[in-house]
Symmetry: C2
């Protein structure tokens, strides 16, 4: 049985302001929760007896637990089809340390608005061994339930920092790459093993303020080059292609 | 003023069986409708006076038109936030001709279920000059409103054929590529300028039946190679990276 106060607390975490206030977010489903457990101790878990029988050894004594049936789970879930476990996880934001970025490949998102795109980009970062993502203040919240559910365990392995992106880019001593429709063919450019890859907003691309700080303007060529096609690639697709190309050069 | 019968007709097109019955689908918004108009004559248009003033010269006499206000548009729209124009477009499926595929690069989708992924893959195909997509019978419907809205004008330039995919692959005389977690590094493989690129279901990948017909098993290496990361890339991201690599070799 889940208390009313607890239901209210969980439901409130659907909104960013309450996530910030409580410093917590919701993760659901056995796969996602299972991937997060090795990295972080939940504040709270609501789970079916079945899930608990298999997984309670993974929980610490610090986690409060409610055993629930499907009906109760549906009452607290933020999803349409809740599955056996819901966990409230602590948000542990590490302070951004520019020095640690210096020798790495880093993704910077300038106003990516769709939480699904953000989640997909986290998975891309994780796949390609990119451990740091910088987000402009206008970028979607990584702890939005839609993003959490789509990025799976990547959330535990990739650090996301919200910051004043122009300020950070202005004082970083690394090449800054960005994709532009009038950039130069990425396959003809020298790509460094480290640097910042800036990806822009879904509709408007990279903002003017950030564009000024991009030192290498790239372009993913369409085929045949210069033919009349789709206006642009989806931002997550472009991120995938650019990251794959950076890593191909290093292999 | 839109008649009741017409509202019923439009609303019915949200469902696949009625799209098949009426041989029509719904496209909405000035950008998408504007991109489709040069390729196809709508059966019907509901639009604001503003849109019509600017665009009526693009419509033929064959299109029935209702001038509507925002409130009426909301009543017929399949979207949450309808924008100035809704068009009912004819579905014109061309017969699949295996001979025309022979010298081309073709994408085959084996059970891709999410209409958003399908739409994104159409945009990728369009960007990379891939004009033919084969879909297994279990793949999402390209005329699903969510897919239509996400693939934009690519829908007009890329032909999508639903077919018995194993049967088609079995009789085609081209290399068949597919991505598998145990495939060989795509960057070390010879890639042909033509062939079929098979992409699988979001959760289960390529089906066993289709996997038997894949002649070249590829893998997009993570970084560092063999490290512990996200289980797999989203299917649309993988499609983007594979298509970019095929086209890079040809440039």
């Amino acid at each position: 049985m889940i208390t009313r106060a607890r239901i209210k607390w969980i439901k409130s975490l659907e909104m960013r302001k309450f996530r910030l206030l409580h410093n917590a977010f919701v993760a659901e489903g056995p796969k996602l929760v299972g991937e997060l457990l090795p990295y972080s101790t939940p504040l709270y878990v609501a789970a079916t007896q079945e899930w608990l029988t298999e997984n309670s050894h993974l929980l610490s004594d610090l986690t409060e637990v409610d055993v629930v049936n499907q009906e109760e789970l549906e009452r607290v879930s933020l999803l349409r089809t809740p599955q056996s476990v819901l966990a409230v996880m602590p948000i542990r934001e590490k302070k951004l340390d520019l020095a640690t970025l210096q020798s790495q490949l880093v993704i910077a998102l300038d106003g990516v608005q769709d939480p699904g795109n953000l989640g997909t980009i986290l998975r891309i970062a994780d796949w390609f061994g990119i451990h740091q993502i910088l987000c402009s203040e206008g970028t979607a919240d990584v702890y939005n339930p839609k993003c959490v559910q789509s990025c799976m365990g990547a959330l535990a392995r990739v650090e996301v920092h919200y910051c004043n992106l122009p300020d950070v880019l202005a004082c970083i001593q690394m090449p800054v790459y960005g994709t532009f429709l009038d950039g130069t063919d990425i396959y003809g450019e020298a790509l460094s093993a480290y640097g910042i890859i800036v990806m822009g907003n879904e509709g408007n691309g990279i903002s003017k303020e950030v564009a000024k700080l991009v030192s290498h303007r790239l372009y993913i060529p369409n085929f045949p080059k210069g033919s009349f096609t789709t206006e642009s690639l989806n931002v997550a697709i472009a991120t995938g292609i650019v990251c794959a190309e950076f890593r191909r050069r290093m292999n």
